[in-house]
């Protein structure tokens, strides 16, 4: 069992698998996103009722919430791969973490941007020091820090491990940061933001939101695997299988 696992944990073995998965995930993601867009714009009401009535602009929820979820989920995945890499010393795990980071950062930025565009009509301001927005901003800094540290170190092995350690430190600190922003006054610690519960949302809206989330998720798979392929190629430039793949196996090169 374990042997099989480690067989696919080698970059050379995973490269073709990733190549086959990218189109599958891309097409599925595209389908889901298009469906969600259709559903979100044509099958949903123009008003969001309830205690906090909102007009058409509530539709931003269809990209805002999925991207915010993805930004957090991808950070978790990134930290998990980092942890696995540090414990088992597998190079593919670090590559995976690196492949995820830019996509995660993009979703974090999207969540911030759409949050601002939603905040303006509903709160009357683009930016508010709302705990969620602020934590999302911190998450964005974490992604940037991860990528900046990785690219600042020339030795790829040190870069992998240092960035991985940073990701884990960030994972430990994020809840503390979120909590401290959420509750700046420990004497009077009520949640500032409105609570939202999935069950209160109309099913059409929920459908569009969840399909978009799934679409974004598959999109993340596709981009992460595509990026992973690039990372594997550049890292393994010297190895025989890359050369064989490009030029076809040559008997003369068997020494490598």
């Amino acid at each position: 069992m374990t042997i099989n696992w480690f067989k696919y944990a080698s970059p050379a073995a995973f490269y073709p698998i990733a190549g086959r998965l990218v189109p599958v995930f891309s097409i599925a993601a595209l389908g889901l996103v298009l469906f969600s867009l259709y559903w979100g714009f044509f099958e949903t009401p123009e008003r969001l009722g309830g205690s906090n009535p909102q007009k058409e602009y509530y539709r931003i929820i269809f990209v805002h919430v999925p991207s915010a979820w993805m930004s957090m989920w991808l950070y978790l995945v990134l930290a998990a791969w980092s942890g696995i890499g540090l414990v088992f010393n597998t190079r593919l795990s670090f590559m995976m973490a690196n492949a995820i980071a830019p996509t995660g950062a993009i979703f974090t930025f999207i969540a911030l941007w759409t949050g601002a565009f939603w905040g303006r009509p509903s709160w009357g301001t683009y930016w508010d020091w709302d705990p969620r927005l602020t934590s999302e901003l911190i998450l964005f800094f974490m992604y940037i820090g991860f990528m900046a540290l990785h690219s600042a170190i020339d030795d790829s092995r040190r870069a992998d491990r240092a960035a991985a350690l940073l990701a884990i430190v960030g994972l430990v600190m994020l809840p503390v940061i979120y909590w401290s922003i959420n509750c700046p006054d420990p004497n009077n610690c009520a949640a500032l933001h409105q609570r939202s519960s999935l069950t209160q949302i109309e099913s059409n809206i929920l459908t569009a939101m969840l399909t978009m989330t799934l679409g974004f998720w598959l999109y993340s798979f596709a981009t992460a695997f595509a990026r992973l392929q690039g990372i594997i190629l550049t890292r393994e430039l010297e190895s025989a299988w890359v050369r064989d793949m490009v030029s076809g196996p040559t008997p003369a090169a068997s020494g490598g």
Binding site: Y57, V63, I106, I110, F117, L237
Partner: protein, 68 residues
């Protein structure tokens, strides 16, 4: 149609949010494609160079002796 694009007067916010989202996602895809092409050309060129020199010298750039 116009009504749809108008989004009840909130067109700027709705399309601003959706526009940026898909702009970034598409940009990411395009960048990935481009970097993939660059890498593949580079790998291909390296392979061709290797093929031309049947007995390649040791890795082209002498790695400096590692210090600390």
């Amino acid at each position: 149609m116009i009504e749809f694009f108008n989004q009840g007067g909130y067109a700027f916010f709705v399309w601003g949010a959706f526009g940026m989202t898909f702009l970034l996602l598409i940009a990411e895809i395009l960048l990935l494609r481009q970097s993939r092409r660059t890498i593949l050309t580079r790998v291909g060129r390296l392979a061709r160079l290797r093929a031309q020199q049947p007995q390649p010298a040791e890795p082209a750039s002498p790695q400096p002796e590692h210090q600390t």
